[in-house]
Assembly symmetry: C2
Homo-oligomer: 761 residues x 2
């Protein structure tokens, strides 16, 4: 596929070249954090609370310390005083450092099942494990708050006595579990509903799920004799984690270096540090490298799953389908750490898909005795979309209108004011919906017994800052260092941008992810920002490299830099092309000697946000005896803008859809009075290849007008439509409306039974 | 000591702060190459020729490969075809890649005792060692060329049949062992000697010595599945070695990364790669990390000692001391690798100390069946100074003139044309000589039985290119990355320059040595260029960082950048100092968000050369029964220019003087028909603290006019005067003139016996 941009035809951008790291990924030679064992490494293990809520009355590590091979035990008492209990630590805008730290290592109270209360460093992982059982902890169990709606009631026990509800009206007066209340409204809601011919009103529940990355968190922390700490870990956000660790341990940032190793998935769950804090305390205490590798159970318990939620949607519409009023409530479980406000904003913006005559949104963030919750691919938006896109489907059914036509009728247009008051960038929503409607995925005849559902998702992306630099070698090859951790083929797409700009081959550039010393500050690999923002930084770095090369060529050919042209690895004088020097000769003569190094630095930040849009069509069969849902076809339409590497984009679309379908049908945390009972991959059911059809990834729409390359974020939006798309398909197939995700066989069967008056089919 | 520069008073520059890495150096936690063992590491060992010259007829590794634990054996047959047999590979201007590679791994011939002929990788170092003895090599001994003067004779066997003498006259016609003949002349030499009242004519010999760094070479090479090679090693020149390995293995430079670890001394001897090439071949063959650590014997045999030499000096002078003619010859042993031409040029420039009416210099570089020779602190110059400074002393004695007065009379002046035709930069030679003459080290009364000798050395320094960059953290601390390996306290002096410029404390900046990806091209840590050139790069990086900070402050305070002043960690508007933002607040608001990363890059190269000057006064007692020389006092005068860190400068002066005294009195290779017989620290005698007096380091002279900081190179010049200073002191004490270094007890006793007509005292 040849891509063009502003009339220019690309050679390397737009090619689906294999990942530059594909061989070592496949043969197992890539070094992940658990693979790294430095000399003299001690092994860390973490003792966790069996209680969801308890006072810690006493911790006695004496017996553990007597076990041969045990080098240190740390508890919350080893934490330094927290000097800066500010929010916005390491990019988590709304999270106070104190809560963040409390989650990572308990002090006086255990706040959730799995909360770290102590950690051991020993010469082998087995000894460390043994030592855990020798640590005596005396707990006094406290009342457990394990349900968001219960937690909001005035008579609920309060988890954080100092917590007050933040809202535009200021802080609330009384202690509460409601950390945040966001309100957005527009127009006369009551009148809107009065004007409606039909009103749909529903509640929706989505269970807590885990991001389910392949690689559990692992880290090695080394503190040198001068007090400089180096942290090798599996992170989406090396720079943000550097800031976190420095803040939480009250160290200057210049004393902390984070070296991100290969990462086996993150999906938002590896944004903040997890085992790094107790591991750092062990390293400080022992003076030796300490390595901690979490087990899968620990990952489920205490890393930060995606929040469960309650939603309420009420839509009023005219008989022709025009929406006259839309009211929504959203309650998000932030677990024991308040501060997930950004997620609520995501959901709010998601409601901007449709023009609603009048609108009101109430978003709540509620504290419970559970693990803190974290972003998971398009944070919160699948929960939000499950509500609004299911309600839209129900409205279409009730009105007898094609659900795509209903959406086309109400679709927001570029430049409309969004639910958060800002202007909607270009989305091409209406055109895309029309394209989907005409596509065989939607238009082809449906086999008997099947149901087809459609749902839409929309996000805005491109925040944050990124850095990259390119250095020239003396043989005319180059080295590109990026600040963004590579979760999704980033190194490959970045090297494509650099090679295209420098007019050389991808194989002429080595690319690596820098540590926090070797490259400028770069935000996390999250929010579908990499190709858009880091890509802009790499483009600048390559342009600056080329500028410096032209300047050197000009010096050498004794002309002004403006007189220099470059093509096919040759610099020449525009007026006299015989006056020339090759790229390799220029580098040979002018990098290791003469004026010296050529270094092109690129920084990008504060960019205009760009939209990403996905429309999914799912087709299911439902076994009416068992409630089991078979996904027989699945088509993901998405506008990636200009696709730097179409194969990688397709992979992102398919991966997100697969995760969304898993969430829709199978994945969810099971609780028993605040204790997690399915913290393993046997009882927590993620889809395998056998559970899914081949997901058809279809590109739609135009390159973005925003940004220098026309790209859009692609990683996140594809997880947004699956929950409602599958729910709507189930409804189409069976006539029952699912309002609780995951839509397990049990739940579907139960709904079918209710629908049929309590008797099985 | 408060330093000032152009009227500005420094706060941090000029302070003798302790090394930033001092604690980990002392407690043994610094990671040197031999300390690093990556997971899955194999251990490399090298099989070496016992013959100084032999044809390799057959290598049979079958038995070695059958030994359990042996993973691979490589020989010269594993080398790829050498595509670029060019000179100037990795900064060694005059060395052909082919000769360089031949030295590192023999192909058809062993050219010196210790020449690598094969290498083994095995699971333990012991198995690898055992395997060496199972490799069968059939040698056919060839005639050995082991003496430079014999090697020059027309009937000598020729080592490299293709070698021709390079000179201004072009290449010679016949095969030869003389690789290079440099001639410099000026004036009418015959007339000069005719005009002289007195002529001194002497021959001088200096034995081969080793740099004697504490840490033997060690490296680990890893090749990933995509063919990218990473080399962790002990190197003075990571970037140069990257180029070398890429060239010698015919790889693009983008596929090679060098990670320099802590280094335990180099003194020029760790400029090119040594065990890295066979280790890389083993890593390529096995696909596993391979680590090779040389033994001390291997270091002596085959890493590259400093050349032995022959010198001839003839000086003619008027009775008042004025030199009318000066003729010198210099023959340097380059071992089996031709291309040490730069060293000869150093010596030639060294002859510019004195105005000579007429001058002729003939420099020769001669090939022998010995290890290639390498730079050793002020390469070649101690050999050169031993000749001219001994001859000057003898002339002074013959004329009855104070040796300092003789030098003052003939001293070159700033701007004089040097022996190489270029202009002499500022040296302050005459003033310095006068200062020394008045100093108690020279002027104080001499105790009976003692002798005092003086000698001078002068070098030009500051070639090559360096890079550095500074990134800002969000808390107002900074990270400095330099491309120069730290042999001499470089990190400390560089952080002083950065902290001074940014107006912060040294502890606010972390400093690290980058790998070849993370920072721009930087020349080797050699040639006393670091503080001068890398210092200029760090200064630029800090100035650029400050410029970016001011720009951000201006944006924030809504004024033009030119209106912003900065003092005491606060940016403020010059006209309205209350309009201000602190450094920490600015970084917090403007690095991790907004415009993004702040990165100041500095590149320095093509700088004006700067002189360094040393005058040493040694005082000795000689035991006339044994010939043993006791150094009782030693004073090193040197012009360091502005001393960034005076304690480090003193350390350099004392270290160089100590090494020079070792060379003067004890150190030297002993040979038996091309076989080295003292390849260990028992038989190769380096001075200990007990052998030396406290060396008094005295700063003289003015800051340099060249360069942005007024610094001069300090590392090298202090090894130049000791050989003649000690020789001259022996002459003053005993009346005998030593012309062969080291001036061992045996040689001094023999000279005393000859002087006294063959009978002891």
């Amino acid at each position: 596929m040849t891509q063009t941009r502003q009339g220019k035809e690309f050679k390397i951008i737009g090619q689906g070249i294999p990942r530059v790291d594909s061989v070592e990924r496949v043969n197992g030679k890539a070094v992940f954090s658990a693979d790294l064992t430095l000399q003299g490494t001690l092994h860390g293990k973490i003792l966790r609370s069996p209680y969801p809520h308890a006072r810690i009355k006493r911790i006695d590590a004496a017996k553990a310390l007597q076990l041969p091979g045990v080098k240190a035990v740390i508890t919350g008492a080893d934490l330094p005083p927290l000097v800066q209990d500010t929010a916005n630590v390491g990019g988590e805008t709304a999270v106070q450092a104190g809560y963040m730290r409390q989650f990572l290592l308990a002090e006086d109270r255990a706040l959730f099942h799995g909360h770290p209360v102590a950690a051991v460093a020993a010469t082998t992982p087995q000894i460390a494990e043994d030592a855990l059982s020798l640590i005596e902890v005396e707990y006094e169990p406290l009342p457990v708050v394990d349900d968001i709606l219960e937690a909001m009631k005035p008579d609920s026990p309060v988890i954080h006595p100092e917590l007050r509800t933040k809202s535009l009206a200021g802080a609330s007066k009384d202690p509460t579990n409601v950390a945040l209340h966001v309100v957005a409204e527009r127009g006369d809601l009551a009148k809107g509903f009065e004007d409606a011919d039909l009103v749909i009103e529903r509640e929706y529940f989505v269970d807590m799920v885990h991001q389910g990355y392949i690689e559990p968190q692992a880290c090695t922390v080394v503190v040198d004799s001068d007090g400089h700490m180096t942290m090798y870990n599996s992170t989406q956000a090396a720079f943000r984690q550097k800031i976190q660790i420095a803040t939480l341990l009250d160290m200057p940032q210049s004393k902390v270096k984070v070296v991100p190793l290969e990462i086996g998935g993150g999906f938002g769950g590896k944004s903040p540090t997890v085992p790094e804090l107790p591991t750092a305390l062990l390293a400080l205490k022992t003076g030796q490298p300490v390595k901690t590798v979490l087990s899968r159970t620990e990952v489920f318990l205490a890393t930060g799953p995606a929040p469960d939620s309650y939603s309420y949607v009420k839509i009023g519409a005219k008989r022709n389908g025009q929406i006259t009023a839309l009211q929504a409530k959203y309650v998000l479980n932030c677990g024991c750490v308040p501060g997930a406000g950004l997620t609520i904003n995501n959901i709010l913006v998601g409601y901007s898909l449709y023009k609603a005559g009048a609108f009101r949104f109430d978003g709540y963030e509620v504290v419970t005795n559970k693990s803190r919750t974290l972003p998971y691919r398009a944070p919160g938006m699948p929960n939000g979309a499950f509500a609004i896109e299911s309600a839209m489907d129900e409205l279409a059914q009730a009105l007898g209108i094609d659900p795509l036509d209903l959406r086309i009728l109400n679709a927001s247009e570029d430049g409309d004011i969004m639910t958060d008051g800002k202007k909607l960038p270009s989305t091409g929503l209406k055109a895309t919906l029309k394209q989907v409607k005409a596509h065989p995925a939607w238009a082809s005849p449906l086999l008997p017994g099947r149901g087809r559902g459609v749902a839409v998702g929309m996000r805005l992306e491109g925040a944050g800052v990124s850095s990259a630099h390119i250095t020239a070698n003396t043989d005319g090859t180059f080295n590109l260092v990026i600040g963004s951790v590579d979760l999704t083929g980033t190194r490959t797409t970045m090297v494509q941008i650099a090679a295209e700009t420098l007019g050389i081959d991808v194989s002429d550039i080595s690319v690596s992810v820098g540590d926090t010393d070797s490259v400028g500050f770069t935000d996390g690999s999250w929010g579908s920002r990499i190709t858009y923002v880091t890509g802009a930084a790499v483009l600048k770095a390559a342009q600056e490299t080329l500028r410096q090369l032209k300047e050197r060529a000009a010096l050498r050919l004794r002309v002004e830099p403006s007189a220099i042209e470059y093509r096919d690895r040759v610099f020449y004088v525009a007026d006299n092309p015989e006056q020339r020097i090759s790229l390799a000769d220029l580098c040979r003569a002018n990098v290791g000697q003469g004026a010296g190094a050529i270094i092109g630095y690129g920084v990008a930040g504060g960019m205009q946000l760009v939209s990403s849009l996905a429309v999914h069509v799912g087709e299911v069969e439902v076994d009416r005896e068992t409630g089991k849902v078979y996904v027989v076809k699945y088509t993901a339409f998405q506008n990636p803008g200009l696709a730097i590497n179409p194969v990688e984009v397709q992979g992102q679309m398919q991966g997100g859809a697969a995760q969304g379908v898993g969430w829709a049908l199978w994945e969810g945390y099971y609780w028993n009075k605040g204790q997690l009972v399915n913290a393993n991959f046997l009882d927590y059911r993620m889809p395998t290849f056998l559970d899914l059809p081949m997901i058809d990834a279809v590109f739609v729409g135009e390159p973005a007008k925003e940004g220098p390359l026309g790209v859009r974020g692609v990683g996140e939006i594809s997880i947004v439509p699956p929950l409602p798309a599958i729910g709507n398909a189930i409804s189409a197939a069976t006539g029952v409306r699912m309002t609780q995700a995951p839509m397990t066989s049990q739940r579907v069967l139960s709904a079918l039974q209710q629908h049929n008056g309590g008797s099985s089919s």
